[in-house]
Each structure stands twice: as C-alpha cells, then as structure tokens.
C-alpha cells in the first residue's frame, strides 16, 4: 500500500470511470459485497435463469413487434402479399400481423421467437416452481419470494393470453369469446364487467386496444418489478444448496460471481436465446395466416388456448352443465365453478409454504434443501397437485387426443371427470410409498454400505454380496436431513391443574402433523449407535 506512488500514477481509464461512479453511486461498497458472491452450481438452480432470460428475450422481441403492430379494430380489406387472404375483410390488428409475417424481413422470425419464448417462459416457471416446491426451498426466509414467483407465474399466464389474442385471428378471437362468456357467468356483476371490458357488446371495437395496453404495459410492468424484487431477494437470502460435505445451514458453497458465475450465467443467456432462435427458425408457431381473421360466426375445430391456459380450458370442458334459475336470476354454475376452481388450484400452491410452516411450527431459517424423498407427505402432495393439473391439460386437449388416439371424445371427457378426483389420490399414495422406499434404501445404505455387486463365497459355502462401506461424506449427505417429531396437542390440563381448552386449530394441526411426521409417514434415519453396533458387531459380514 504505497499510497504516495499510487496517487502520483495516473489511474487507468476503467478505474477512473469506476471512481467517478463510486463518488455518485457508491458502487465500491456494492461490489465489495457482491462481486465475489458465491453461487452454488446445480442444473436445477438454472431453471429460474431460463425464465429470466426468456423474459428478457420476450421484452426485446416484443418491443420490436410494437414497431409494426397496429392495435386497432378498424376494418380493412387485405391487399398484402399473402394470396389466400386477398380482399378479405379483417381488422387492422390482423392485417398488420400478416404484414409482420409476410412483408417485414425478419418479422416472422421475431414473432416466432416472441411466441416460442413465451411458451418456454411459462413452462420454465412451472418447472422452476416445482423444483422449489419439491426441495422445500420455499421455507423461511423465502416465503415472500415464493409468492413473488407465484405472482409472476399467474401474471405470465394472463400476459400470454392477452398477447396471443392481439392478432385478432379466428383462434384467439374464439378464446376471447370464451373469456367473455366466462365473465358473463359471474353472478350479479358479470354483465357489467363484460360491458365495461369490451366497451359494449361483444366483440365491439375496443378489446384489442385494451388488451394491447394490458399486454405491453400494465402486466409486463408489474412483472418487471416482481422479477427485480425476486432477484434482489435471491441475492439477499443467498442461494439454497443441497446437503453435502462442508455445506451447512450457515454457509453457501460454490463459485464466485466474478468470474465463473458471471461467465456461466451470462453465457447461459446467449445459449437460451440461441436455442430459441433456432427453434423459431425451424418450427412454426401460431401461423395466424392459416387461421383467418376473427368473426363471431366462424369457428374451427381444435380450438385450444396456449398450453398454460390448457388446464383452465380442461376444467371448463369437463364440467357438467349446471345452471340454476331462481327468482328471475341465473346462476351459471357450469361456467362459474370452473372459474372458481381455476383460482383455487392456483391459490393452493401459493399458500402452501404458510400451511406447512404452520404444521411444523418451525420458525428457523432453512438454507439446506430437502431431497424430495425426505419430505414424503409434501412430495406426495406436490405430485398430486401436478397430477390434477396434467389431467386437466388432457381435458383441455380432449378433441385432439380423441382424433389422434382414435378414442371417443365423450370417453376422454368422462375419464378426465373421474380422474380429476381419483388421479391425485392415487398419485399421493404411490408417491408417498416410493419416497418411503427410497428413505429405507438410504438407511440401509448408510448402515450396511453400498451393494458392490461382488459375490463372495464364505468357507462354509454361503454366498454373500460384499457391501462397501460409504465414505464419511456420503454418510453425512444421506443423514443430514432433519426429521420432525409429530406435534402433540399438549396436556389437557395446564400447570395449575385447570382444564385447558383445545382449539379446533390445535387439534387439526396435531392431526396434520401426525400425517406428515407420525409413525409410518417417515422412516427414522440411521443413528450413530445403530451404525456403530452394526459395523463393529457383525464385522463386515454384509
């Protein structure tokens, strides 16, 4: 630290710029905390990055598309270069989307990148959310970030919906019509919401312009804010990690942001963009020219929303047509119930962290991830949720499945109706059993070592397989998970001998806790005593 010579030497340009910025932004303190911040390496931790990068790609391509798209429902006669639409009456929105596809060089590519990235964005969020769920990464202190992520997923669905509706083609227009019908089913205010949203009767002349501002401004604005908050919290909490030697709840093991993580994460952005660009070069998505402009009296079979709205579509398709007419009013349960269930299915996954922390009563921070098998009830619940979601996706595509699997659409609908209730139960039971089996296997491995596949013949003729003992770090990794004791309701009388009133909540919690952690719901992990007894007592007999 020879300050005198340093002061005389003229600092390099980069340093001078940094100094300038530091004097105004305080970047050195920021960099001190973050430049060598440690990030653990695991492919499943990059699922969130796929979402982040596809979101950035969507914004970049979306901005380009706004330069050419006309969000207007003024009717024009098409005279562009796509022959099968010559002279057809359509809205400017549809005509300008045809222009982007056929008359703007690279326009079709950007449109396809935008749409493919959107499908991948939401699929990525789904998988990322499942990763967080099944590893218990949503536990304290990350519940709020779970909610941010959940909101991003939900808003992503609606941003996608308003986006694919913009071209005003026959397919998406049918989707908008469905939305309007669903809004009408809302008791009391349904007709008012519909009239206000559409500026009058369906379809009116306003909905595209309104969806446009929702799609490019309102929702992405909120999402951008949430993404930033989500990332700040990831930095602030520091990333979770899987159990392993040297990895504790008090540290985070990995490689520093500069240079490794920066190169990998930055590189991954280009990889994601590159893969999506190649997909857009080779695979058509939403060929609106083949669909035709929207007209409320025209329709095509195979009318589906994009995949992320598929489970809502399934709910609507398989619901029986219940309608109650009473006192001069109509309760359209056939449409309204699916609408409510749609919200409940999403809400269920949103509130789960709070339910679990209430059941465990655990107020500690958790930075070490659970292996899914070590939380059998949670894992089973998650798989049950995914099962019900997937069953509804089948329901949403029942006509396509019918034609391509040569089945009756009515049978598929009935299958979905029954399996929406039965499927999750089966999935729950099966998953839980598998988890318990895996736990048992882990326990055996810890106590008896790994099966080596080497068969040895003992002097008295018996054949045994040699089990190789695990290394210290393997033993640690397999026993590092925590196991809760089921909560007791506590004594019926307090310390003064007065009868204590048990609230219903307490009883429920005790019951749930038993379901999660009680006997038969988790396999007690090997203890040091058991290990010592086996390894000394039997002398490597196994």
């Amino acid at each position: 630290m020879s300050t005198t010579t340093d002061a005389k030497r003229k600092a390099p340009a980069g340093e001078r710029v940094a100094d300038w910025a530091d004097g105004r932004l305080g970047i050195y303190s920021l960099a001190k905390a973050n430049m060598r911040k440690i990030f653990p390496d695991h492919w499943s931790f990059m699922l969130g990055e796929i979402c982040l990068y596809s979101f950035i790609i969507i914004i970049l391509t979306g901005v380009y598309l706004t330069l050419f798209f006309h969000p207007s429902m003024n009717e024009v006669h098409y005279h562009g270069s796509y022959v099968p639409m010559q002279g057809i009456r359509m809205t400017e929105a549809y005509a300008s989307t045809l222009d982007i596809s056929f008359d703007v060089r690279g326009g079709l590519l950007i449109r396809q990148i935008h749409h493919w990235a959107a499908l991948i964005f939401i699929a990525g969020m789904f998988v990322h959310m499942m990763r967080v769920f099944f590893t218990g990464a949503f536990r304290k202190p990350r519940e709020i970030n779970w909610l941010f992520g959940f909101l991003l997923f939900a808003l992503g669905m609606f941003t996608g919906f308003t986006g694919y509706s913009l071209p005003d083609d026959l397919l998406s227009g049918t989707g908008v019509r469905f939305t309007q019908g669903a809004i009408l089913s809302v008791p009391i205010v349904g007709t008012y919401i519909s009239m206000f949203l559409f500026g009058g009767e369906f379809p009116g002349h306003d909905i595209i312009a309104r969806f446009y501002s929702i799609h490019i401004l309102l929702l992405p604005g909120i999402m951008l804010g949430l993404v930033v908050a989500h990332l700040i919290l990831v930095f602030y909490h520091k990333h979770t990690q899987f159990p392993g030697p040297g990895r504790t709840n008090k540290n985070v093991v990995g490689m520093p942001l500069l240079p490794v993580y920066m190169a990998k994460a930055g590189g991954f952005f280009f990889l994601v963009f590159g893969v999506i660009a190649v997909i857009a070069a080779l695979f058509t998505i939403n060929p609106i020219w083949a669909l035709g402009p929207y007209r409320p009296d025209q329709v095509s079979t195979g009318a589906q929303p994009d995949w992320y709205m598929g489970f809502a579509e399934g709910l609507v398709r398989v619901m029986p047509g219940w309608e109650i007419n009473l006192w001069g009013h109509t309760l359209v349960l056939g449409v309204f119930i699916p609408l409510v269930v749609f919200g409940l299915v999403l809400a269920a996954i949103a509130v789960y962290p709070f339910i679990e922390s209430w059941i465990t009563g655990d107020k500690r921070e958790h930075h070490i991830l659970d292996r899914p098998r070590n939380a059998p009830t949670r894992t089973a619940l998650g798989v049950a949720w995914v099962t019900s979601y997937m069953v509804m996706l089948i329901g949403g595509g029942n006509d396509i499945f019918a034609t391509h699997l040569h089945m009756s659409i009515n049978s598929i609908t009935w299958f979905v109706r029954i399996f929406y209730f039965v499927g999750p139960v089966i999935a729950f039971i099966v998953t839980k059993r598998i988890c318990m089996g895996l736990q048992r296997r882990d326990r055996d491995k810890v106590l008896h070592g790994r099966e080596s596949g080497i068969i040895k013949r003992l002097p008295h003729g018996e054949f045994v397989e040699i089990h190789e003992p695990l290394s210290q770090s393997q033993r640690y990794s397999l026993t590092a998970h925590e196991q809760y004791e089921p909560a007791e309701v506590g004594p019926a009388v307090d310390e003064n001998g007065v009868e204590r009133k048990l609230t219903r909540g307490e009883k429920l919690r005790a019951k749930l806790s038993k379901g999660y952690f009680g006997e038969g719901n988790q396999v007690p992990k090997a203890t040091a005593e058991e290990y010592r007894e086996i390894s000394s007592g039997h002398g490597g007999h196994h």
Binding site: M46, L170, L171, G302
Partner: protein
C-alpha cells in the same frame, strides 16, 4: 369372428368376379362398337348398369339389400345418386369392413371403371346427385380468398382451419382432407357422406364449391408453403405446447446440465 371373416372375403371374391366382368365388358364392347353413337351410349349405359349390378350383388348387397333397399346393416341406396357411390367407393370407405362409430378411409379395391359401373347401377335405382365432371370441380381460376371465407363459415368447424380434421361425438370424426382429391371434396359437399351434412347446389352453388376446393388445396397441399418451418401437424396450441415443453424446455435443461456439470478432473498423479 367367423361371420366377420366371411364378410371380409366379399371384396376379394369381388376382384375375381370383376376381372371376369371386365373381360366380358371388353368383349361386348368390341361386339357393339360399330353401332351408331347415340345407340352406343345408351347401350353402354345399360351395359354399365348391368355390370354394376353384378358388382353390387357381390360387394354391396349383403348390407344394402339386393335391390339397394337397405337392411339393418346398411342404409337404402335409392336416390343417393352416382356421386355418393363414387365418393364412398373411390375413397375405399365402401365396402365397409366392420361396423363402428364411423366407416374409415381404406385402400380402394375397385378400379375407376368398376366404380363407374357401380355408380351407374345405384343411380338407376332412383334419381340423386350425379358424379361431377371435371369442369365442375376443377378449382383452376377459382377465388381462393372467397373460398377461405366460405371454408371458415361452413367447413372449418369440423375439418379445422386448414382441413386437418377434428373430433365429433362418440368416436366419430371429420377426416383430414390432405389426401382428398378435388372431385372427392366436391362429392362430399354434394352428397353429405355418413354424418357430414350436405351442401347442395341450392344453398352452395357450384362456383362456391370450387372456391372452397381451391382454398383447401392451396393451404393443405403438397406445395403449400409453411413459411415458419415445420408445421407440427397444423393442430394449433396443443402440438405447439407439447413441442415447447419436450423439445424447447428439454433442450434448455440439457444445456443447463452441461453448464452446471463439473469438468473432468485430472487423474490423480
């Protein structure tokens, strides 16, 4: 099972009979050839009916009845017209193999001359839509865009935006029109085969049928451009969603695994 295989034998038997019939037709034609034209036409017509009747009694009568009056296994053919026969037989739907929700398309077992004879016979049972001539169905010069509009009003609800087909109730379906010829599409609109409604000339004139054929052939033909790349079946969001999940997200996860994987360590030296 036995009954079924017995039925299956019909078409095979028919082929043998047909070959004989064909030879006979040729011989008879040679015998009558020098006669005057009008007379020849009339005679050819009655001959065709005669031959068609023979084919009919072998291949069709078991279900549709010996006089085309229909049985419990098949509808009456009186008044269906030659167009219906030409469509059903030339797409291989008839003779049907087995009962089911819908009689599917199959390899054709009659040649065009035999189909014409069958059609002539069935047409003789009662007046009905006549097999269209090429002038009627040839879509050359038709208005493709107008056809598209008509297609979306009248056809797309069952056959999809570009004629890829779609589901109907209880296992029935609207077939894909990818391999259908203009003539078959015309006949289908004219006659309404199986559960498809008909679009008679009174409500959909010949010109509009041509426009529709021109449209469907322009958006679902061998030369149809798919500017964006693979069309993924032209089925819309379901196939796009499956592709996005399996190949899109799948490829990205594969890349992520590579990015996060540990690099090979040097051997301990």
């Amino acid at each position: 099972m036995k009954k079924l295989s017995a039925r299956r034998r019909h078409p095979l038997a028919a082929v043998v009979v047909l070959l004989l019939a064909l030879a006979a037709t040729g011989g008879l034609y040679a015998a009558f050839a020098p006669a005057s034209k009008a007379q020849a036409d009339e005679t050819a017509q009655s001959l065709a009916i005669e031959e068609g009747k023979k084919l009919y009694s072998v291949g069709c009568a078991s279900c549709h009845g010996t006089g085309g009056q229909g049985t419990t296994d098949g509808p009456s053919l009186v008044g269906v017209g030659s167009a219906a026969v030409d469509f059903q037989v030339a797409t291989g739907r008839m003779p049907a193999q087995q009962p089911g929700a819908q009689v599917p398309k199959k390899p054709v077992i009659y040649d065009q001359a035999q189909i014409d004879q069958l059609a002539a016979y069935v047409a003789s049972l009662g007046p009905g839509p006549v097999t269209p001539t090429e002038k009627q169905y040839n879509p050359e010069g038709a208005d493709i865009a107008r056809g598209g509009d008509l297609w979306r009003t009248n056809c797309a609800q069952c056959h999809n935006f570009t004629g890829e087909g779609g589901a109907l109730t209880k296992g029935k379906y609207a077939p894909s029109l990818e391999d259908s010829t203009p003539k078959q599409i015309y006949e289908a609109m004219q006659t309404g085969p199986q559960n498809m409604p008909s679009f008679p000339d009174t409500t959909m004139p010949e010109k509009e049928k041509k426009d529709i054929i021109a449209y469907v052939k322009s958006v679902n033909g061998d030369e149809t451009p798919t500017p964006g790349g693979f069309a993924l079946g032209g089925l819309g969001p379901v196939s796009e969603g499956l592709f996005g999940w399996i190949f899109g997200l799948g490829a990205l996860i594969a890349v992520a695994i590579w990015v996060a994987a540990h690099t090979a360590k040097a051997k301990k030296s």
